[in-house]
Every structure is written in C-alpha cells, then in structure tokens.
Amino acid sequence: MSGYKTGFFAVFFFLFSFSVSSYAGEKVTRHVSAGVGYALYGMRDLGLSPLHYDGDHIFLTTSLQRHTGKAISIAEVSFMNGRISPDINPLLTTAEMKSMKLYIHYSYYRYTGSILNNARLYLGGSTLLHSASYRHNLFINSSINLNTINSLNLSGMISLPFAVNEREHLLELHLQAPVAAFIVRPSYAYIKPSGFLDHSSGGLESIFRSIEVATVDRFFSLNSGVSLKYSLRNNSALRICYRWEYMEHSGDNPFNSATHGIVLQTIFTL
C-alpha cells in the first residue's frame, strides 16, 4: 500500500511543480450555495471492532465561494448523519452504530494554466476539519467514540467550461491529499449515557492521550469530487456533485473509512 501512496505523491508533486503564469482577469464574484445529498459511508475501526460497518447517510452542505480570474477560495460546512451496521448476516448480530460527521473545509486554488485545450488547471491547498461521533447500540462503557482529524492538504482542480444552447456550464474535477494531520482518536471515550462525573477525568485523559500529529506514513486520505454546474437564467446555478473520500489512520487502533456521496446544490451569486 505504501507503494501506491508514494506513486500518488510523485504524480501529485510533478503536477504541482510545473507553474504557468497566472491568468490576468481581476473580476471578483461571490457565490453562496446550499445543498442536500445522499452518502454511502463505510468504516472499520479496529479499536472497536474488526468488522466493516456501512450504511446510508443524509448529507447537508453549505458553502461560500470567492472567484477571481486568478484564484478561487471556498469555505464549506457539511454535516452527515446516518446509521451503519456490520456487513455480516443480520441474523448473527443486531449491532448498529449511529454515525454523525461534521466537515469544515477551506480551500484555496490558484489558476495555473490551461490543459487539454480549454480546461483550466488550479492548484492550491486546503484545510479540512473532520469530526465524527459513533454510538454503538450494544456497547455499554465504550459506546460513544469521538474523533477529530484536522488535515492540511495539497489540492488540485480542473474545470472545463462548455456551452449548451448559448449558456455556459461547467464540469469540475477536484482532488486533495494530506501532507500532515492533527489527530485526536481515543480508543474509547465515553460511557453511555454520556460523560463521566465532574471529578472523574477518565474520558478526558483518554482523549488527551490520543493526540497525535501525523504525516502521510500514519495518516492518508484522498478527497475528490466531480461536479456539473448548470447555469440558470436568473444568474443562479444548480450543481450536481459526486464526492468520494477515503481516509486511513494507522497506529494502535487502525482505522479506515470511505464515503461515496451525491449532492445537489443551488448556487446564488451575491
């Protein structure tokens, strides 16, 4: 697996390294968007179980975007809620986890040049705060598990404008991968119902003990998406986006997860 990672980063840094002089347009536009979607989420946390859990989630997202001719910055908050269960015969267990995830994502892309004739290439960086909670229906003292991962990423985006019936639409493709991450993943945290008593600091100790700053040898993720933006006549737009996210943390309690999501957004120009 480390070979795949090395290969991926080699390609990514190669793409990142060739710079093209910036595009000179200076027009600034701002957009706000709101969206709803469906996601299929799967995870395996060996701190809790060797079983792979997956299930359906609802996805809510809102974002603020700023476009200039040279750069695009995007601030986005997303929330995902659903239930996951083990991928074994349901007659063998009634295990189920409630899963909630919060994403706070800021990306900055700089225009780098044109590729493939009229596609525009942007490269940049992003920070992604990803916080998740799981509540197991059968576990008692380790039923609630919280983790937070804040990663610094390299990001790339290709956007391909095209026209249909004299109206401009946009096909976008983005990809990001981390260079470092701040991780808080206690192996077990809270009893059910939540919380230790005031003077009992066990849960907090478990959280502090788990804090870690990791680089790609211990934390790896890929976050990507492809979206189609359909312009409306009133200067707004609809966007349908397919997102895929993979995350992996090795260590005492290895963890990996993957999300496939489809989001429908309305974009308003401010």
């Binding site: 697996m1 795949y4 799967g42 395996r44 809790l48 179980s49 060797p50 079983l51 792979h52 083990p86 074994i88 015969n89 007659l91 063998l92 267990t93 295990a95 493939l116 004739n117 596609a119 197991h136 059968l138 576990f139 008692i140 003292n141 380790s142 039923s143 290709i158 391909l160 096909l171 493709l173 990809l175 077990y188 009893i191 119902p193 919380g195 230790f196 008593l197 005031d198 003077h199 009992s200 600091s201 066990g202 100790e205 478990s206 003990r209 790896f220 990507s224 998406g225 492809v226 397919y242 895929w244 993979y246 992996e248 005492d252 990996n256 993957a258």
Partner: protein
C-alpha cells in the same frame, strides 16, 4: 480532448477504496479464537494481579478448536477460555447465548433476605423515589437500592435526603445490588460528602503489555445536591455488592462519618469495555483497574469496617442481623474508630 478529460475523471473518481484497503481476515472459528485470545491478551487488566498465565491457557484451548466444530461447541470452548479469568466482568455474547462467571459470590453466604426486609423493615409505610425504597426505623432512615443500572432524577435523591434529614442516622443497603453505572453511585455519594475528597485512582490500559497502564488518575468526590447528610451513615454490603456497587462502597467509605457493615463486597474493580469478533459475537472485559485512595486494589472486594453475618436463627425469625447491627451502631452514635469489630462478629 474531452475524451481524455473523462478518462482522467473516471480513473480518479471511481477508483474504489478497495484499492487501498487490505483484505479482511476470513471469518472462521480459528481466526475468531485467535482474535479473542489476542484482544484479551493485549487489553485485559488483571493478568498480573491475578497471576494468570494466558499463554498456557492458549495452549490448553487452542487444540480444541477447528473450523469443523458446531457453533455451540465453538461457543463452549471460547466461553471456557474466558472463564479461566474468573472475572464477573468478562462475558461472551452470541446470537443464541452468553457466558458469565459468578465466582465472586458463589460459595459465600447470602447475607440477604429480601422477604424479611419487605416484611419487617420496609413494611407497608415505605416510600419510593426512583430506585430508592425508603422507610424509618427507630428514628433511623433505611434506604434500599436494588440496582445502579438505571439513571434517576436528581430530584429523587434530593427528596430522599430531605425526607431523612432530621433523623439521627441513615442506613444505605446495597446488598445484592450487582452494579450498573458508577455515575449513579457517585451522585449518591456526593450527598454525603463533607468536603472534596480523593476517593480512588483509575489506571487505564494503554498498551499491549500486561502491565501497560496509564499513571493512576485520581478521582474525587465533593459535596453535591441541595442538602447533604453529615450525621452517621452506615452502608450495608454483601458478596453480591458488585461492580458499580463495589465502587459506591469504596467512595462512601472515604467519608469519616460513614461505616460499612456486613460482608465483604464481591469486587469487580475494572470497568468493562466491549469488542466484537469477526462472526458478530461480542466480548466484554475490564480495561481499567481501580485502586482505593490508600492504594488497595478493589478487584476482589472491599472488607467492611464491621463484619456481620446473618444468623440462621435470626433469618428464620424474620430478623436481618446486619440491619440490627447497624441500628445498634447508629443508636450508640459511636464513631467507627471506637467500635471493636470483634464485639459484633459471629452473630
């Protein structure tokens, strides 16, 4: 050109996570046995304290496992291996059965008769608030708590303290209370706290070695609630006072106006955590260790300040010898340090 773009998109976006994920371990009896043995080996708290050789237990049970065993036979082997830990907090749960160990109270005197308590101590004029059954006996409050498993409203506890506030003492009976949530017992203890006191230390399992624990984390209990009862209090315990009840007895014993009377508690000082196996079964085992404020490991129980057993003759006459001893103690209003436990032994 657009075709290249679409090919790139397909490569990047539809590259499934299976590309990165390792193949899961195959779900069969042997792998499940090895997983259970390894999880317990790395995470269970009391190997050193109980002087258990887990490697030799593997050598005894591993040859009994093969992938042709029936599910029931396999369960029995797994449960048998866990039973070697002699721990009431260790269980194996499947979709058809679960295993448990009761060594902590089997073979010991019961020291409890609920019918006698209802007939002669709670009688018909008791009141209940949440899980508390409360009555008054000779100007002494009697409170029976059958379980710490359920949450209760703080107002229930406040009403109990309010109801008994003017009395000369309180008997808290936690015999046959096999535990539940530590939090419940600690909430109660806060109503009897004269000041913030160190009551215990928790050690968390932090690594795979049998002695890989965190530093002892201190636990304190301080005054809590609208009113607090600081007159003499007696806590009654027996061998079935286990787990969260064991914790409650330890916490209450930290206060100078509290005396523990009855039999040794059953123990259960480690907080149990859950883990799943590849076949969906679930195991439960302690991943912490609790020491009293004086450093005493409470896993095998806490000795009372005054040891009293229920005599057969008293029990047949409907008398609870342990409650009677508590009433005598509270009536004398003596401090526990002035009582010679020998005087009350061997009822």
């Amino acid at each position: 050109m657009k075709r290249h773009f679409i090919i790139l998109a397909v490569i990047i976006f539809y590259s499934c996570e299976k590309f990165f994920m390792e193949d899961p371990t195959e779900n069969n009896h042997i792998n499940n046995f090895d997983l259970l043995w390894q999880v317990i080996d790395e995470k269970y708290s009391f190997f050193t304290y109980k002087n258990i050789n887990w490697d030799s237990i593997y050598n005894v049970y591993r040859p009994k496992v093969n992938n042709d065993l029936s599910v029931q036979e396999f369960f029995d082997v797994m449960a048998g291996m866990l039973n070697e830990l002699r721990d009431g907090h260790v269980n194996l749960y499947s979709n058809f059965a679960h295993s448990a160990n009761f060594d902590w109270h089997l073979g010991h005197r019961a020291n409890f008769n609920l019918e006698n308590i209802h007939n002669n101590y709670l009688v018909s004029n008791f009141f209940s608030a949440g899980p508390f059954l409360v009555s008054e006996i000779d100007s002494v409050g009697y409170v029976y708590i059958p379980s710490f498993a359920d949450e209760f409203r703080e107002s229930d506890l406040d009403s109990v303290v309010e109801h008994l506030y003017g009395l000369k003492g309180i008997i808290f009976d936690v015999r046959n209370n096999s535990g539940g949530l530590n939090r419940t017992g600690r909430l109660i203890a806060g109503r009897f706290a004269d000041s913030v006191r160190l009551v215990s230390y928790t050690l968390y399992k932090t690594g795979p070695g049998h002695d890989d624990f965190s530093k002892p984390q201190p636990n304190y209990i301080g005054p809590h609630g609208k009113k607090r009862f600081l007159k003499p209090v007696v806590v009654l315990s027996n061998r079935r006072s286990y787990s969260a009840t064991n914790d409650f007895v330890m916490n209450m014993a930290a206060f100078p106006h509290v005396t523990v009377i009855g039999d040794q508690t059953g123990g259960g000082g480690g907080t149990p955590y859950d883990y799943e196996l590849l076949n969906g079964w679930r195991c439960r085992f302690p991943r912490t260790m609790t020491l009293a404020a004086n450093g005493f490991n409470i896993e095998h129980g806490i000795n009372p300040d005054i040891r009293v057993n229920i005599s057969r003759t008293d029990e047949l006459r409907g008398i609870d010898t342990i409650i009677e001893a508590a009433l005598v103690f509270l009536s004398s209003r003596s401090l526990k340090t002035h009582i010679q436990s020998e005087n009350l032994q061997d009822y």
